[in-house]
Symmetry: C5
Subunit: 274 residues, 5 copies
C-alpha cells in the first residue's frame, strides 16, 4: 500500500471538510448527484473520445496501481549485477546462463535483466545488446507515457466540465427568471458545486495519479539504464570494482544522501587500495 | 468504426443533458442558432486565416477519419518481416523481390515496407536505406503534425469566440438598458450559450480528435521504425532469431502486457537453447 | 492572393456580425475610436518596447506578405534537381556551371540552389557544402523566427491591453459614482468593447498571421533540406534513380497523398526493373 | 544565511501590509485559521498524493536549505584543479593519490572531485571517467529535479485550493440565504481570504524556493562539468596553461564580469608570452 | 539610445492615457501610492526570494542596459576576420599575434575573437579551440539566461500581486460593510488600480525588457558562432574566398534582405570566376 497516496487523500479532503466545518458549514450540502454526473460523466466522455478502446482498458488499472507501493529493488539489483559480474570474471560468461535461468520461486529475476544476460551468453555484440535493450525501454516508455497522458487529459477535462455545469446552471436561472428565488438558489448551487467537483477531482485524484506514475516511470528508466550499463560492462569483461564505481551513482534513487554515498564510496575505495 | 469515439460523444453529451435534466433543466432551451453561428463561424474563420487552402482541404477528412478505427497490423507486419528475414537467409536477398512484388488482392503490402525491401534488393547501402526511410517518416510526420495543429487551433479558437459572443451579448444588454428585462434575459442567454458551445466544441470534438490522431501518429512512427530496423537487419543478414529478439519490444503497441511479453520471450528463448 | 486568409477574415467577422444581427444587435454600436486607441496603441507600444527598430521595420511587410500566396515550387525544383543530376552524370560536374549561371528572364533559379551547385562545381568537399548550406538555413530560420515572434507578442499583448481598457473603464465608473447612469453605461461600454477588440485582433489577425508564416517557414526548411540532400548527392555522383527515390518523400509537401505517392513510386520502380 | 531570501520575505509581506495600512486596512482581519487549514492542508494533501514517502521526506529539508547561502567554491576549486594539474605534470599522475587522500580537517575536498582524481590515479580510460562522472551528475540532477518538482506542485496547488475555499464559502452563502447578512459577510470573507492565502503562499514561498533551488542546481551542474573537464585534461596530461584557458570561462558563475575576465585572461596571456 | 524602447513606452502609455481622456477620464485619478507599494513591492520581494544577492545586483543594470542600443559589429567583424584570414595565408599564422595584440585606442578588438586568434597562434588543435570557445558561449549564455529569467519572474509576479491588492481591497470593503459608500468606492478603487498597475508593469516594462535582452542574446550567440567558425577556418588554412562564402549567411543579422544578399554573393562569385 502506498501510504503517501492514502494519507494525501485523507489530509486533502479532511482539511477542506475540517476548515469548512470550522466556519460552521454543513459538508452534507456539498454532495449532489447531478453535479457529479455532469463533471465526471462529461470528462469521461471526452477521455473516451480522445483515446482508443485498447488504451482505455488501462485506465482503471492505473488508478488502482497508484495505490500500491512498488518495492524498490535498485539495491538488490545492483548487488545481483555485481555478483554476476564477479561470476563472469571467475567462471566465464557461459556460466551466467545457468545462473540466470534457475527459477527461484521466492524471488523472480527481472525479465529485462534476464533478457540482457541471455544475449551476453549468446555472444551478441555489446552495441547490439545496448541498442536492443534501449529500444525496449524506449517503446515501453512511449507506451506508458501515452497511458499516463489519459490521466493528464482527465485532469484537464474535469475543471472544464465543472465550468460547463456552472454555465448550464446559470442559464437555467435566467430561464426561470427572478420570480422563484428557491429555484434560483438551487440552480446556482449546482453551478458552484460542479466547479468545486471539477477542481477537486483534478487536483486530488487525476493530477496526483499522473504525477506519481510519471515519477515512477522516471525511476524505472533509471533502473533499466543501470542494468543496460552493467550488462554491457559484463559483456566487455569490465573489472567488477570499476563496475561498482560506475553503478554507485544510481544509489541515490533509493533516497540515500548522494554526497554521503559517493564519499563513502571514495573512502572505501581509498582504503581498499591501501 | 472507432467505438470509443462514438461512446465518448454519447457519454459526454449524455451526462451533461442527463445531469441537467436531473435538476429539472430543459435541454431544448440550450439550442440557439445565432450562438452556433458566432462560435463555430468565428472559429472557422480564424482557422481559415491560419492555414493555406491546400491544408484546409484535409480538415473534413480528418474529422471523419478519426471515427474509423485503424486496423493494428503490427503483429502481422512483424510476422511478415520475420518471414522475409528467413527467406533472405535461405534463398538470398534477390528472392525477396518476387515475394514483395507479388500483388495479393486480399492483403496489400505496406508500400513503405515494399520500398525498403526493393532498396535491399537493389543492394543499396544499409545506412542509405535507413536515411531514406527515416527521412520519409520525418517528412510525413512534419506534414501530418501540421494538419493536426489545425485541430489544436480549432480547439483554442472555440472558447475564445464563445467568449466573444458573451461579450457582444453583454454589450447589447447595456445598449438596451434596464428597461426591457425580456431583452436583457434573452441577450444574457446568448452570452452564456456561446461560452457553453465554445467549451463543449473544444472539449468534446476538437481536443479529442487532435489527441486521437496524434496518438495514432505516434504508433505509426513506432511501427515504421520497427520496419526500418527490420529492413536494415535483413540487408545486413542478421540472424532471424536475433531479429525476433529485437522486434519483440514493439509488441507492446498492440496492448499486450510488456513485462509478460518480454518474459515469455526470454522463457521461450531459454527453452529454445536447451 | 492567399484566398484562405481573405476568406478567413470574411467568415470570421461575418459570422460574428451575422450572429449578432440575428439577435437584433446593432453592429455600428460596437465601433468606438477610443477603445481602438487603447487596445491597438497599447499593444503597439509594448511591441515597440520589445524589439529593435531594425526588426520592427519588418512588421508591416509581414502583415502584407501573409496575404500573398507563395507559389509552391517543390515539384519543379525536384525536376530541375533530377535534370542537374542526369546532366552531371552524362557531361560531368563542370557542365553544371554554365547551366546554373544561364540567366533565364522568365524563370529565376533559386539563389540557394545556385549557391550549392556553384560550390559543387568548385569541387568543395560535400560535408563542407552541407555545413555551409545548413548554416544558411539555420541563420535564416533564426532571423525569421524572431520576426514571427513579433506577431506572437502582438497576439499576447492585444487581450492584455483590451483588459487594461476594461479596468480603466470600470475605475472611471467608480469615480463617477452611481449618480449618472448614462456615464456609467458609456464607461462600461468602453470596458467591454476594448476586451472585444483585444480578443478579435489577437484571434483573427495576429495569431493567424503568425501561424501561417510559421507554417510557410517549416515548408521553406523542408524544401531547402531537399535541395541540400540533392546537391550533396550530385557532388557524390549518386545514381539519379536513387536520388529520385530519395527526393520522392518530399512530394507530400505539395499536398499529394503520401501513401499513394510512395506507392506509385514503388510501383513505377518495380516496373522499371522488369 | 541567504540574505536575499530573508529580505524578499520582509519586502514582500511588508509591502502588502504597508500598502494595505496606507489605505486604512486592518492587517489583523486578514488572519483566519480555517482559511489557512483549507489552503495549506488541501495543497499538502495533494502533494502527498503526488509523491512517494521517500521523496516527501525531503520537503522540509528543502524549505530550510533554501535559507542557507551556499558558499561559492568555484574559484578555489579552479585553483585546486590547476594545482593538481601542475603537480601531475611535475611529479606524475600517481602523486595525486596522496594529495587527494590527505584529510584536511579545515577544508574538505569535494567527494566528486576526489572520485574523479582517484580514477585518474587508477589509470581509468579518460572517456570512461567522463562517462561515469557525467552519469553521476545526470542521476543526481534527475533526482534533485524530481524533488524541486514537489515545490512546483505546491505552487500550483495553493491557488487551486485557495479557489476551492472561495467556492465552498460562496456555496455556504447561498445555503444561508440573504436573511443573515452577518453570516454572508463572514462567509465571503473566508472565500476571499483563502484565495489571498493561495496566491501569497505560491508567489512568496513555493515559487521562490523552487526557482532558487533550480538556479543553484544549474550552477552545481556547471561547476561539476568544470571538474569533469579538468579531470579529463589532467588524465590526458594537458598543458596547465591551456587548462587555465579552458576553465576561465567558468569564472562568470561567481558573478565576475565575463568580458572583463576574459580580457584580463587574454592580456595576461599576451604578457606571459613576451 | 534605443529609440524603439523609448518610442514604445511613449506610444504605450500615451495611447492608454489618450484613449482614456477621449472618453473624459481623469488620468490623475489613476495614480495611487499604496497601489504602487503593494504591486511593485510585493513583486520585488518575490524576486528577492527567488534569486541570490549575486544575481540581483544585475537587475538595475539590465533595466538601464536595455535602453542603450548596442552597435551592430557583425559587418566590421566579418571584414576583420576575412582580413585576418588573408594575412594568415600570406604571412603565416604567427603574423596574426602582432596584429591582434596591437592596441588600437579608437577601436577595441573583441576579447572573444582575440582569445580565439591567440589560441590559433599557439598552435592549439582546431577542435580544442572550437570546444573552448563554444564552452565560453555556453557558460555565458547560461549565466545571462538566468539573469533574464529575473525579468520573466518580475513579469509573472506583477499581475499576481496586482490581484493580491485587488483581493485585499475587496476584503476591506466587506469588513467596512455597506454602511459607508465612500470607503467602499475608495477600496474598490485600490482593488482595480493594483490590477491595472500589475498588468501595465508586466506588459510595458518587464516583458519588453526580457524580450529585448533575449533577442540580443540570440544575436550575440550567432555573432560568436560566426567568429568560432572563422577562427577554426583560419587555423585550418581555409581559402579566404570559401570563408567569405561561409560567413555570408550571417549578414542577415544586420537586417539585410537575405535572399538578395545571397544572390549578390552568388552573382559576385559567378563573375569572380569568369
Amino acid at each position: 500500500m502506498d501510504i503517501a497516496s492514502i494519507l494525501g487523500l485523507i489530509i486533502g479532503f479532511g482539511s477542506i471538510a475540517g476548515g469548512y466545518a470550522m466556519d460552521g458549514g454543513n459538508v452534507g450540502k456539498l454532495l449532489m448527484a447531478s453535479a457529479f454526473v455532469i463533471t465526471l460523466g462529461g470528462s469521461l466522455g471526452a477521455v473516451f473520445a480522445c483515446y482508443g478502446m485498447n488504451q482505455l482498458k488501462n485506465l482503471p488499472k492505473m488508478l488502482i496501481e497508484v495505490l500500491i507501493k512498488p518495492k524498490s529493488t535498485i539495491r538488490s539489483t545492483m548487488d545481483y549485477l555485481l555478483f554476476l559480474s564477479k561470476t563472469a570474471r571467475e567462471s566465464g560468461l557461459l556460466s551466467l546462463e545457468k545462473l540466470i535461468s534457475a527459477e527461484d520461486p521466492k524471488k523472480k529475476t527481472d525479465p529485462f535483466l534476464k533478457r540482457g544476460i541471455l544475449m551476453v551468453v549468446d555472444g551478441t555484440d555489446p552495441d547490439k545488446i545496448s541498442d536492443i535493450l534501449s529500444n525496449d525501454i524506449y517503446v515501453f516508455e512511449q507506451n506508458r507515457s501515452q497511458n499516463i497522458q489519459m490521466l493528464d487529459s482527465f485532469a484537464a477535462f474535469c475543471p472544464a466540465f465543472g465550468m460547463v455545469g456552472t454555465i448550464i446552471g446559470l442559464i437555467q436561472v435566467l430561464a426561470a427568471g427572478m420570480e422563484d428565488p428557491n429555484a434560483l438558489t438551487k440552480a446556482i448551487g449546482v453551478a458552484f458545486i460542479t466547479t468545486l467537483y471539477g477542481v477537486l477531482l483534478a487536483n486530488l485524484i487525476f493530477i496526483p495519479t499522473a504525477t506519481k506514475l510519471r515519477s515512477r516511470l522516471a525511476n524505472y528508466r533509471l533502473e533499466k539504464e543501470m542494468i543496460i550499463e552493467a550488462v554491457c560492462s559484463i559483456r566487455n569483461s569490465v573489472n567488477p570494482r570499476l563496475l561498482n564505481e560506475q553503478l554507485s551513482s544510481y544509489l541515490i534513487i533509493e533516497g540515500k544522501n548522494k554526497t554521503k554515498a559517493s564519499k563513502d564510496q571514495s573512502d572505501n575505495k581509498g582504503q581498499m587500495k591501501k
